[in-house]
C-alpha cells in the first residue's frame, strides 16, 4: 500500500489559518504514507497534474487530500483517479477548509485539528475498498397510468420518441376530467375541441396501446425492470366484433343516472361514456343490467348485428414488463354534503361547479341551457361560493384547490355571454390568479358584470317561498356589512381530492403520499416529477392541484425523464451501496424491513461444511435499488452488513485516530 497525501492551500483560504507544511510533515510520518506535498490549488490543472505525476512517480495506489469539502470536489478527484487507472474510491478527502480554516480563528489549534482530520482520512484509506456502480439493462417500454390529459400527453411524447407505451385507463374511454369540461380558461377554448384530437392521436399512434376499462393489479421489480399485471375488466362487448354502431345502446331498456353528467341525465346500462369516447365502443355495466340482475332481457345480444355481446366474458389479466411508470391518476371532486350550512344534497338548486360545467356544455344534459333542477326554469340570479371545502381545516381539505378561482371567473363570463340577463355574485376569501394571463381573465370577468364580494358565506337556506328559492347569507368586506342574496341557483366551488384508490396504488408502486393524500415528489423544487422510487414519475393532479397547462407540462417532463432513461439504455446504481459478508450473515433478515428501497431480499447459498453441501439463507442486496443509506448496517448485529465507502472498519479507523 502506497499512500500519497496532498494538502491544498486553497490560495490563502486554508494557508492563512492552517500551517499546511506542518500538516504535510505530520501526516508524512504515518505508516504507508510514501509521499506528501502541499499545493497552492489542488483543484486546478496544475494541482491535478501534480497529483497525477506523483501517482506515476511513486506508484501511489491511494490518495488522501486535505482540501475543501468533499461535497465540492470529490468528483473532480475521483475522475482524476479514473484517468490514472485507479479506483475512484481510493481517494479520501479531509475537509480542512469548511470544517477547519474557515471556522476557526486560532492558527495553532486549527493546525492541530487539520492534522487530526488528515490523519483520520489516511486511516480511513487503509481500509478503502474499490467500488463500482452496478448497471442493469432497461426495458424500453413505458406504462402510463391514467388516461386524462396528463396521461395522454406523456404517452404521446414517449411514443413520438419512438418507444412503445401502454396507456391504462379505468373508465371505458380516455379523456379524463377534461372531457367533462365546457370551455377552458383563460382562452375559452372549447375543451372537447382541443382534447378530442389528442385522444384520437393517442388511440391511433403506432407506439401506443390503449387499455381502457382496466386497472393496475400488481407491480413488482424496479427501475428499468418493472413487472406489471393489469386487470382488464369484462366489458361484455367483444371489441373485435363491435363496430360501434350503437344499436344496443338505443334499444337497452335499463336507464340509470349518468355519472358523466353528474346525474343530470340518464344513460343506458350498455353505454359509451360520452359521444366522442375513445375507443368508441360500448361497455355493459353489469350492476345495472337487467339481464345480469334478473336473467331475463338480452335485448342487446339479440339486436347486435355482429354478435359482439358476450355475457360470459371474464376479467382478463395482462402481464407486461416496463422500464418506467408514469402515474397520472388525476383527482376526484369532494362531494360537499358534509358542509351542512350550504344545504347541498338538501336543495336541488345547490349544485357543484362541475354540474354547472355540464349544464353549460353544448353536448351536456341540457345542450347548454341553464336550468334550476328544482323546477326547470332558467335561473336569473346565480351565487358562486368559493372555497367550499378547500382551505377548510374544520370540515374539509386544508389546502387550496388552485383552479376554482379561475374556473369560477370562466363560469361568470360564459353566463354573461350566453345569458346576458343573469346576474352572477361570487363570494370569495381570496382570488388567486397566479398564472399567465390569469389576472387579465379575472379582470374580464369583473368587467363583464360579475359581482365579487369578499367574504365567506355562512349559510344557504331555503326561503320557503313558492319559487323554492334560496337565501344566501354572506358578508361583504368592502361594505363591512352582512349581505344577503335571494338566489335561484347556488354553485359551490368544490375541493379537489386525491382518487379514492390513491393509497392502494401508492402501496403497489412503493411511492409515498403527502398528508393530503397527493403523491409526493422526490424533491419539492429540483425533482418535481420524480418519486422516491426510481423509474416512477408523477404527472398531473395526482401530485397536487394544478391546471391543464401545468399538468401538460409536467406530463412532458415525465416523458422526458422516461426517454432519457430509455436512451441511456441502462440504469446505473450508486457505487456506495450496502454489501453483505456472507460468511457472517445468518440470513435473519432483520435488515429487510429497515430498507426504504426494498433492496434487501433473502437468498439461499450453498456451502460445504463438515463434508456436506448445505443450503443456508443470507441477505442479498439489489445494487440497482440500494441508495447506500446504511440504516441496515447500523442495525446488523453481526456486522455482516456494510456500506461501501463507509464500512464499519473505515469508520472505526476514523474514530480510533481521533
Amino acid at each position: 500500500m502506497k499512500i500519497g497525501v496532498f494538502i491544498c492551500w486553497c490560495g490563502s483560504n486554508i494557508k492563512n489559518m492552517v500551517d499546511v507544511e506542518r500538516v504535510a510533515e505530520a501526516t508524512g510520518k504515518m505508516p504507508h504514507v510514501v509521499y506528501t506535498q502541499d499545493v497552492q490549488y489542488l483543484c486546478s490543472e496544475v494541482g491535478q497534474s501534480d497529483i497525477g505525476n506523483a501517482i506515476d512517480e511513486h506508484q501511489l495506489d491511494r490518495v488522501v487530500i486535505g482540501a475543501c469539502s468533499p461535497r465540492m470536489h470529490e468528483t473532480t478527484f475521483q475522475q482524476l483517479m479514473n484517468r490514472k487507472g485507479l479506483n475512484p474510491y481510493y481517494v479520501e478527502i479531509a475537509n480542512i477548509r469548511e470544517h477547519c480554516s474557515w471556522v476557526h480563528t486560532d492558527k495553532a489549534k486549527a493546525t492541530v485539528k487539520a492534522i487530526d482530520l488528515v490523519k483520520k482520512a489516511v486511516a480511513k484509506s487503509y481500509y478503502a475498498v474499490p467500488l463500482h456502480a452496478e448497471s442493469l439493462p432497461v426495458n424500453k417500454r413505458a406504462l402510463v397510468i391514467g388516461g386524462g390529459i396528463a396521461g395522454i400527453q406523456a404517452a404521446l411524447d414517449i411514443a413520438d420518441a419512438g418507444y412503445p407505451v401502454d396507456l391504462l385507463e379505468k373508465e371505458s374511454s380516455i379523456g379524463g376530467k377534461m372531457a367533462q369540461f365546457d370551455k377552458t380558461f383563460p382562452t375559452l377554448d372549447c375543451s372537447a375541441c382541443i382534447l378530442t384530437p389528442k385522444m384520437v392521436e393517442a388511440a391511433t399512434h403506432e407506439n401506443i396501446t390503449l387499455h381502457t376499462y382496466s386497472e393496475l393489479e400488481d407491480v413488482s421489480g424496479y427501475v428499468g425492470n418493472f413487472h406489471v399485471t393489469i386487470r382488464k375488466r369484462a366489458t361484455s362487448v367483444d371489441e373485435e366484433r363491435c363496430t360501434g354502431c350503437g344499436e344496443c345502446v338505443t334499444k337497452c331498456p335499463a336507464k340509470v343516472d349518468n355519472e358523466f353528467d353528474q346525474g343530470h341525465s340518464k344513460r343506458k346500462a350498455i353505454y359509451t361514456l360520452f359521444a366522442q369516447a375513445v375507443p368508441n365502443k360500448p361497455v355493459l355495466d353489469r350492476k345495472n343490467c337487467i339481464y345480469f340482475k334478473t336473467g331475463k332481457c338480452g335485448v342487446c345480444k339479440k339486436i347486435c348485428p355482429t354478435d359482439a355481446i358476450n355475457y360470459e366474458m371474464e376479467d382478463q389479466l395482462i402481464e407486461n414488463d416496463y422500464g418506467a411508470i408514469i402515474v397520472a391518476t388525476g383527482f376526484e371532486l369532494n362531494e360537499p354534503t358534509h358542509l351542512g350550512e350550504y344545504h347541498y344534497g338538501h336543495h336541488p338548486d345547490v349544485i357543484t361547479s362541475l354540474e354547472l360545467e355540464r349544464m353549460l356544455n353544448a353536448s351536456g344534459p341540457t345542450q347548454g341551457k341553464m336550468y334550476r333542477p328544482s323546477n326547470g326554469k332558467e335561473p336569473k340570479r346565480i351565487v358562486f361560493i368559493q372555497c367550499a371545502g378547500s382551505r377548510d381545516r374544520h370540515d374539509g381539505n386544508s389546502y387550496c384547490s388552485k383552479v376554482c378561482c379561475l374556473y369560477t371567473a370562466k363560469h361568470t363570463i360564459l353566463l354573461n355571454e350566453k345569458f346576458p340577463d343573469t346576474e352572477s355574485y361570487v363570494f370569495y376569501i381570496d382570488v388567486r390568479t397566479a398564472g399567465k394571463n390569469y389576472e387579465e381573465f379575472y379582470e374580464r370577468a369583473r368587467q363583464m358584470g360579475a359581482n365579487y364580494l369578499r367574504g365567506h358565506v355562512s349559510k344557504v337556506e331555503p326561503l320557503g317561498d313558492s319559487d323554492n328559492r334560496l337565501l344566501v347569507r354572506g358578508y361583504d368586506g368592502s361594505l363591512g356589512e352582512q349581505t344577503e342574496i335571494e338566489a335561484d341557483l347556488v354553485v359551490l366551488a368544490t375541493s379537489i381530492e386525491p382518487q379514492q384508490g390513491a393509497k392502494k396504488l401508492a402501496g403497489m408502486l412503493g411511492i409515498s403520499s403527502d398528508r393530503n393524500g397527493f403523491y409526493s415528489e422526490a424533491h419539492a423544487k429540483l425533482k418535481p416529477v420524480e418519486t422516491q422510487t426510481q423509474g416512477v414519475y408523477l404527472a398531473g393532479v395526482c401530485q397536487g392541484p394544478k391546471d391543464i397547462p401545468e399538468a401538460v407540462s409536467q406530463a412532458s417532463g415525465t416523458a422526458a425523464k422516461a426517454i432519457v432513461l430509455f436512451n441511456r439504455g441502462q440504469v446505473k446504481g450508486v457505487p456506495t451501496t450496502a454489501m453483505v459478508d456472507e460468511e457472517l450473515c445468518s440470513g435473519c433478515m432483520q435488515c429487510k424491513p429497515v430498507c426504504p428501497y426494498e433492496a434487501i431480499s433473502q437468498e439461499m447459498i450453498t456451502e460445504r461444511a463438515h463434508g456436506k453441501a448445505r443450503q443456508r439463507p443470507v441477505a442479498s442486496i439489489n445494487r440497482a435499488l440500494c441508495q447506500g443509506c446504511g440504516a441496515c448496517a447500523g442495525l446488523c448485529r453481526s456486522g455482516a452488513m456494510d456500506i461501501g465507502g463507509f464500512t464499519g472498519r473505515q469508520l472505526l479507523a476514523e474514530v480510533d485516530t481521533l
Binding site: S586, G587, C588, Q590, R637
Partner: protein, 297 residues
C-alpha cells in the same frame, strides 16, 4: 413423579420406538436435588431419564443450532419462553420447523434461588400455544404465586425501579461493582437463546471491539451495552443470562430496562409471540421525537 414427566417419558419412548425422531432433547435430574440439566436420549429405554420440573430452566432451543444436531430428526422439550425463542429463530431463518418435533410443556415457574424467577412472575406465556407445538403437556403443579394475572413489569423487576431512583453516581458505582466482576467468560451470551449470530461480533478479530486479554471496566461496559442492544427487542425474557452468570451480575436488568423503554414509547411487543419485524427493525414518522425542540437532548 409429576404428570408432565410421566407423559413426557411416554411420548419420548414412542417417538424413538417408532423412529419418528433420532433423539429427544430434554432435561434430567442433575447431581444435586435442586438442579436439572439438559439431556439427550436416543434409545426408547432411556426415556425414563427425562424429567420436567421447576429447575428445568436451561433454554434448550439454542442447542438445535449446533453442528451435532444438523441433519437429525430431533424432538425437543420447550416451555413457553423457550418456544418463543424457537419461533424467533424460525422467523429469523435460523432453523426450519420441519425436522423438529416440539413437545410443549406447561411451565410451573422456574426457581430463582429460593424464590420464583421474576421473569416467570411477569410471564404470561408459560405454556406454548397448542397450534405451535406437536404435543402439549399440561397439568403442572402451579405454585400459588404463579396463579392469577402475571405481575406488571414494574412489580416484577423492582431492581430497575430501585436503580432509577438512585443518583447517577450511585448508579455508576453500582454497575462498576457489578461489571468489575465480569470475566468476559461469555457464558451469558452462550446461554442466551436469541444470541444466534453465526459469528459473534465479539469473536471477530477485526474490528477488535474487545480485547479479550484486557480486564478493564470500559471493555466490560462495551460488552454489556452492546449485548443488551443486540438482545433488547428480541429478548424472550427467559432469564438465562443472569442465572448462568458465575459472578451473579444482574445483567438481565440491562435488557429488561431496554424492553421497558421500547414498550413505553413504541407499544408492547413480545418477541417470539408477536409477528416480526421486531421494534428496532422498523421506524416511522409517528414515533416520538426525543431530539426535536423539546426533546431530552
Amino acid at each position: 413423579m409429576c404428570k408432565i414427566t410421566e407423559e413426557l417419558q411416554q411420548i419420548a419412548a414412542e417417538l424413538l420406538k417408532e423412529g419418528k425422531v433420532d433423539l429427544v432433547l430434554g432435561y434430567t435430574k442433575g447431581e444435586q436435588e435442586e438442579q436439572s440439566v439438559p439431556c439427550i436420549v436416543t434409545q426408547p429405554e432411556d426415556a425414563s431419564k427425562l424429567i420436567f420440573d421447576e429447575y428445568s430452566e436451561k433454554a434448550l432451543s439454542k442447542y438445535l443450532l449446533e453442528e451435532s444436531f444438523q441433519d437429525k430428526k430431533v424432538a425437543i422439550v420447550l416451555k413457553g419462553c423457550d418456544q418463543r425463542a424457537f419461533k424467533l429463530m424460525q422467523d429469523e431463518s435460523r432453523l426450519g420447523r420441519e425436522d423438529v418435533y416440539l413437545i410443549g410443556v406447561e411451565c410451573p415457574g422456574m426457581k430463582w434461588g429460593e424464590d420464583l424467577s421474576p421473569f416467570c412472575l411477569h410471564c404470561d406465556y408459560r405454556t406454548p400455544a397448542k397450534e405451535d407445538v406437536d404435543s402439549l403437556l399440561t397439568g403442572a403443579d402451579i405454585p400459588e404465586a404463579m396463579q392469577g394475572e402475571p405481575l406488571d413489569h414494574e412489580d416484577s423487576f423492582t431492581d430497575i425501579n430501585r436503580l432509577e431512583k438512585m443518583s447517577k453516581e450511585e448508579r455508576f458505582e453500582f454497575w462498576k461493582r457489578q461489571l468489575n466482576r465480569c470475566k468476559r467468560c461469555y457464558t451469558c451470551r452462550n446461554a442466551c437463546p436469541v444470541c444466534t449470530c453465526r459469528v459473534c461480533v465479539f469473536d471477530r478479530e477485526n474490528p477488535d471491539y474487545i480485547d479479550r486479554a484486557k480486564d478493564q471496566m470500559a471493555q466490560h461496559q462495551f460488552y454489556h451495552v452492546i449485548r443488551a442492544f443486540h438482545v433488547s427487542d428480541r429478548c424472550v425474557s427467559c432469564g438465562e443470562c443472569a442465572r448462568v452468570c458465575p459472578e451473579g451480575i444482574p445483567l438481565h436488568l440491562l435488557n429488561q430496562k431496554l424492553l421497558r423503554e421500547l414498550d413505553k414509547f413504541y407499544g408492547e411487543y413480545q418477541a417470539g409471540i408477536d409477528e416480526v419485524p421486531t421494534p428496532l427493525s422498523h421506524a416511522n414518522a409517528d414515533e416520538p421525537d426525543f431530539f426535536g425542540k423539546e426533546g431530552k437532548a
